[in-house]
């Protein structure tokens, strides 16, 4: 496992490279029209297969394995997949950029969404939102943002109640925790301000 596998670490250099490859992939797939299919294959490869078979990843990333061997392995291992995916993987290997594959896959998915006018969002709630309520939430967000939203749902009891929606770099925070924090901050600020302005009101004679 390399260092950029965690969700937190963000590698601007690989991100840049990954974006270039993802654009290239989608550009090539625009002609055949099976973008959705290939990107799903790529996602399952990155998300499921590679973590299960780390040797495969090591082999394809390794600069010491000659390219023909890698191509053979790709043909054998992904024989069931589409031609487009195999060709793309060979290109990535030929340029020695297999380490960027995870970023390529996530960027390609994002670009695909953008092409269709969709945005991705994350909803955090204190308790799981029942399936029945979800369409209403999606519709409300779509109206607010003016575009279709694809939502991921996560549960974080720490926010106590309410909702927190993150779309891109923007956070719509209607959580109970942050409102309580806001109340605490404004109330203490205001109290301190009033004490400073009219000190007499707050003083009592100790005797």
């Amino acid at each position: 496992m390399s260092a950029n596998d965690g969700n937190l670490a963000y590698d601007t250099e690989r991100q840049y490279l990954g974006t270039v490859y993802a654009k290239g992939l989608l550009g090539a797939l625009a002609a055949t029209g099976n973008g959705e299919e290939v990107v799903s294959e790529l996602e399952s490869l990155v998300g499921e297969l590679l973590p299960q078979v780390p040797q495969l990843r090591t082999l394809l990333e390794s600069p010491r394995v000659p390219l023909p061997v890698k191509e053979e392995v790709i043909d054998k291992a992904f024989g069931a997949g589409t031609d487009s995916l195999r060709r793309f993987l060979k290109v990535v290997c030929a340029h020695g950029r297999f380490d960027c594959l995870k970023i390529v896959s996530s960027t390609a998915r994002q670009l695909l969404r953008e092409q269709r006018g969709l945005v991705e969002g994350t909803v955090v709630s204190a308790e799981a939102i029942p399936d029945a309520d979800r369409p209403a939430l999606v519709a409300a967000l779509a109206q607010m943002l003016g575009r279709e939203v694809e939502l991921k749902y996560t549960v974080d009891p720490g926010i106590l109640g309410g909702l927190m929606v993150r779309v891109g770099d923007r956070v719509y925070d209607a959580s109970l925790a942050s409102q309580l924090e806001n109340i605490r901050r404004t109330a203490t600020d205001r109290a301190v301000q009033q004490i400073r302005q009219t000190l007499d009101r707050f003083l009592v004679d100790a005797s």
């Binding site: 770099d169 956070v171 925070d173 109340i183 203490t188």
Partner: protein, 509 residues
């Protein structure tokens, strides 16, 4: 007396009742890496250059570098409390500091937080740290004097209100002393003073503050401190925030004096930030825009036009040179920006000539127009005469016999040099200065031994103040008369000659 808890609780209860539910919309990013006073952030796609961002725990940062995939932020606070992966939110506003009467007499950090333990700063207004300097139409030529109280400076390189006069010299040549004397001399003039200490030892700053307090100068002075241990971002913004506090008074039509002590350290802090942000280094590894860094700061010192209230900011930037190297990058930059410089030399300083100003290469490009007329009449040629004397003195050291005329010029020169010496923290009133320089240039000191000039000066001034106060008042009121001390039949000239003759008759050397 003690606090009434119920009353406080009622205020808080009122606030809670008034609290409106609202969705908090914020633009966020994630810390990728942090260290050395800077952080790189992923996200914050809509952030503007110079916008404030907030880290967890309320630490403030400034968006400094906007790159394709990340944002470089300078951290104005304790960067050790920030971790990788922390959420950063854009605050949608530019950096500002509290301004107003409340900052006077206070010791603040560059963000306006008090460092003197005298409680919070009371303010009603904030002002952006980075503001645009007044334009051409908003200014007028410098015409009022800003007295420093130092004979050498007020006579030879006069400073006007709204001028920028550089104080430059090696370490330990009395740069700060000049600035402090100028601040002390502003007592009872209504001029507000700001002393911005950048990258200095906290012990030196504490000494400066103690001197200002002892001489009652803290009543109208604000000290902005970002010491040597402060992170580079704070040292970088300190002069801008000090200027913002001064601008509040300038735009109200009042006058300010601001000392940046010193800008070489600020340039070094800016270099540190720029290199950490991977901006390309230029000469002496300074970034390409280090000139702009100083020019936009010093352009904010101005004399406003009458329509804008006629307020002013006079600035005394300080630059420390290494081994007298004035042709280094930062000194040449700041020399070219300012309206003149006071050049201090270590050899003069160690010879006992203090302030150790080199009269030959110190200039004031605009201050002459602002000089008190009487001073202009007596000291007009003083600077050139002193420079000529220095040359003659060097020549005389060859040991050749000198003709009496040359010897007389040398003797006069020695006495003038002696006369321009002044102890620290003893600023002089301009009328006293004018009388002494008149006495020196007109030859009234020629028969006084060189080592007695100081004592003679003291005795003469106390003589005038005790016996000739009427004349002193006359000179004070007509010091801006263009003929004062110039025409032989002018009342001031007659009065001064009379006082000098009378004193010489009674005073025994």
């Amino acid at each position: 007396m003690k606090f009434n808890a119920d009353e406080i609780a009622s205020v808080i209860q009122h606030e809670i009742e008034q609290y409106g539910r609202q969705i908090d919309v914020r633009e966020v990013g994630t810390v990728l890496e942090v260290g050395d006073g800077i952080a790189r952030i992923h996200g914050l796609t809509g952030v503007a250059a110079g916008e404030m961002v907030e880290f967890p725990g309320g630490i403030i940062g400034l968006a400094f570098n906007l790159e394709e995939n990340s944002v470089g932020v300078i951290i104005l606070g304790d960067y050790l409390a920030i971790n990788e992966g922390d959420e950063v939110r854009a605050m949608g506003q530019l950096l500002s500091v509290p301004v107003g009467e409340g900052v006077l007499g206070r010791i603040l950090d560059p963000l306006g937080n008090p460092l003197d333990g005298k409680g919070p700063v009371s303010f009603t207004e904030r002002r952006n740290v980075e503001t645009i300097a007044p334009g051409v139409a908003g200014r007028q030529p410098v015409h009022e004097p800003m007295q420093t109280g130092l004979k050498a400076i007020d006579a030879m390189t006069p400073i006007g209100r709204g001028q920028r006069e550089l104080v430059i010299g090696d370490r330990k040549t009395g740069k700060t002393a000049i600035a402090i004397d100028a601040i002390i001399n502003q007592k009872n003039t209504g001029v507000k003073c700001f002393y911005v200490a950048i990258g200095q030892k906290d012990s030196s700053v504490a000494n400066v503050i103690r001197e200002l307090e002892q001489r009652g100068a803290m009543d109208y002075t604000t000290v902005i401190v970002s010491g040597a241990s402060a992170p580079a971002p704070l040292q970088y913004i300190a002069p801008y925030s000090g200027t913002s506090m001064a601008e509040y008074f300038m735009y109200k039509g009042e006058h300010c004096l601001i000392v940046y002590d010193d800008l070489s350290k600020q340039a070094a802090a800016y270099r540190e930030l720029s290199l950490l942000m991977r901006r390309p280094p230029g000469r002496e590894a300074f970034p390409g825009d280090v000139f702009y860094c100083h020019s936009r700061l010093l352009e904010r010192s101005a004399k406003l036009s009458a329509e804008l209230g006629g307020g002013s900011i006079t600035s005394l930037p300080v630059i420390e040179t290494l081994e007298g190297e004035v042709s280094a990058y930062i000194p040449t930059n700041v020399i070219s920006i300012t309206d003149g410089q006071i050049y201090l030399q270590p050899d003069l300083f160690f010879k006992g000539v203090r302030p150790a100003m080199n009269a030959g290469i110190s200039v004031s490009r605009v201050g002459g127009a602002a000089q008190v007329k009487a001073m202009r009449n007596v000291a007009g040629s003083l600077r050139l005469d002193l420079a000529a004397f220095r040359e003659l003195e060097a020549f005389a050291q060859l040991g050749t016999d000198l003709d009496p005329a040359t010897q007389a010029r040398l003797d006069r020169g020695y006495r003038m040099v002696e006369l321009l010496k002044q102890r620290q923290f003893t600023p002089m009133h301009v009328v006293d200065q004018v009388m002494m320089i008149f006495a020196g240039t007109k030859g009234y000191l020629d028969d006084v031994p060189v080592d007695k000039v100081g004592a003679w000066e003291e005795a003469f001034l106390s003589f005038v103040h005790s016996k000739k106060q009427d004349f002193w008042n006359l000179l004070d009121s007509s010091k801006d008369d263009k003929d004062a001390l110039k025409k032989a039949d002018h009342a001031t000239t007659k009065g001064l000659i009379e006082a000098l003759t009378e004193f010489k008759a009674s005073h025994k050397i």
